[in-house]
Subunit: 303 residues, 2 copies
């Protein structure tokens, strides 16, 4: 098994972009007030529970790779994080994965109750589209790019993407491990929104069609690799870093890459995916270096 | 109590526009197929369970009132119906209103299970934004109007609208009837999306700002009246027409207009709202006649 080397610079890059995203999220999100204050409190609870902001950072890096700026894409990057937060809240509900902890904290429904958690998820998903549409209205020009990005992100989040993956994930629990099924689950449940994140950045920064296609291919590969890394962390990870139960996939009979291919082969698949992802960036210059580093980082992270 | 007279023509108008909407929905919605076919099946189940399509018809009527056509707004009208269908599925879940029947049929989670119902709702909400954004991309020009409509509808559906209303609705169950609270619930839970439906039609048809404002005022009034009518039907309605439990609001201790004001005064409030709604249309010519008739119809319907 070849070792993948991660540049130290990427952690600084991640941290700096994360600060931008967190600042913007704080500005965008409402303060809990009024009769429906509880739902806002619940939305903020999960949104500010300490995520790494990988998807928004990818969106920014996708913009920077073609000469765009972070500022141009931050509202869309934040919208994607809202969609990610909604998916965590709904996935953790008792009728879905029934998780009590996430990132070391009680899950949304454990704090606010299932009804409020359901509504907080619904509301985060809806607010994401608010954010993108109102940003498109404010911005001069670029309305077509914004509509394209809304379409792309909605496709990646819905039954053609994340929801479809989640559907298959829960319906195949306890069934025999199957390579086609696990690839479908991972590409849809996790890969689709990750690919949409980085591609949205490139579209908004005015990347040409060839660039958009290459970045999307990159996103598909790292998206799948990201979920395989999660599968492996669920077996080998450190409970203190992960902040949730280790081994829970096995207990639930989830179909994962390690359950289908074994750990060692899963790591080989990961490495090949990252190699292909980096190859997809051949046409790009040094401005795509953070994307190359992010690809390597994704399979080396500890949580 | 003054009797409101409903034109016979409005039932024909409703039926004709409903056929347009149903046809378009059938074209837009995917056939269940692939590994995630169940979630598509569940989406279609509720979407085609026999709704009256009031919101899409209002969207069309809002366009026609300023000289627009039905065809121009049908994709957005359908998107609004998708959002309405999602809200029904999530509201019926055991953690929310726990309803077993809707329109005389078992609710979504009774047929598909709670996990699939949750995902079907998420997916319908997401697909609504897909539909609007991809329509905006296809259409030459009008991209600004489309972004404005996406923003308007997302606001009406999220914590500032429908989700906020639902939040207060469930959190005030069993509490003392309060006029401020019941108005908040009804304006948000039901009024916001109804107002957005008709306003979206007027915006897309190129109505000027004064027209958009008047139509929105109209929508706010009929939206509130619509929910008061629902409250009254929950007491006086015919179980066979309603297709769900009569008296369920009282059993659950829901705060309703009848519980706050009594039935007779609720009917007076309804009538005043409809009068004001029709007054809001003073600047419009005979092309707004369906909107005037729809206002009267909304409080006279039997189910």
């Amino acid at each position: 098994m070849r070792r993948v080397k991660v540049s130290k610079g990427i952690e600084k890059y991640l941290e700096e972009r994360k600060i931008l995203v967190d600042k913007a999220l704080k500005e965008f999100m409402p303060e809990p007030s009024g009769l429906a204050g509880d739902v806002i409190r619940a939305m903020n609870y999960t949104l500010f529970a300490g995520g790494k902001r990988i998807r928004p950072v990818l969106c920014i890096a996708g913009s920077e790779a073609v000469g765009g700026s972070a500022d141009d894409v931050v509202p869309v990057a934040c919208a994607i994080e809202l969609i990610h937060a909604y998916s965590l809240i709904h996935d953790d509900l008792p009728v879905m994965d029934n998780d009590d902890f996430r990132r070391g904290k009680p899950t949304n429904h454990k704090v606010f109750g299932e009804a409020v958690a359901l509504l907080a998820g619904d509301s985060l998903l809806t607010l994401a589209f608010n954010l993108m549409a109102s940003y498109g209205l404010d911005k001069n020009g670029e309305k077509k790019a914004l509509l394209r990005v809304i379409d792309l992100i909605a496709s990646a989040a819905g039954y053609k993407g994340m929801v479809g993956g989640q559907m298959v994930d829960i319906s195949y629990e306890g069934k025999d491990p199957d390579p086609t099924v696990v690839e479908y689950i991972h590409r849809h449940k996790t890969g689709a929104l990750i690919a949409a994140s980085v591609t949205a950045g490139t579209i908004l920064a005015g990347g040409n069609e060839e660039e958009v296609k290459s970045i999307n291919r990159y996103g598909q590969q790292i998206g799948l690799a990201f979920q395989i890394a999660d599968d492996i962390l669920n077996i080998e990870g450190d409970r203190n870093v992960m902040g949730k139960g280790i081994g829970s996939d096995k207990v639930r009979g989830k179909i994962t890459y390690p359950s289908v291919f074994g750990i060692s082969e899963s790591k080989n698949i990961q490495t090949r995916l990252i190699d292909h992802a980096i190859e997809s960036l051949n046409r790009f210059d040094e401005r795509a270096e953070p994307l190359r580093d992010l690809a390597r980082y994704i399979i080396k992270r500890k949580g």
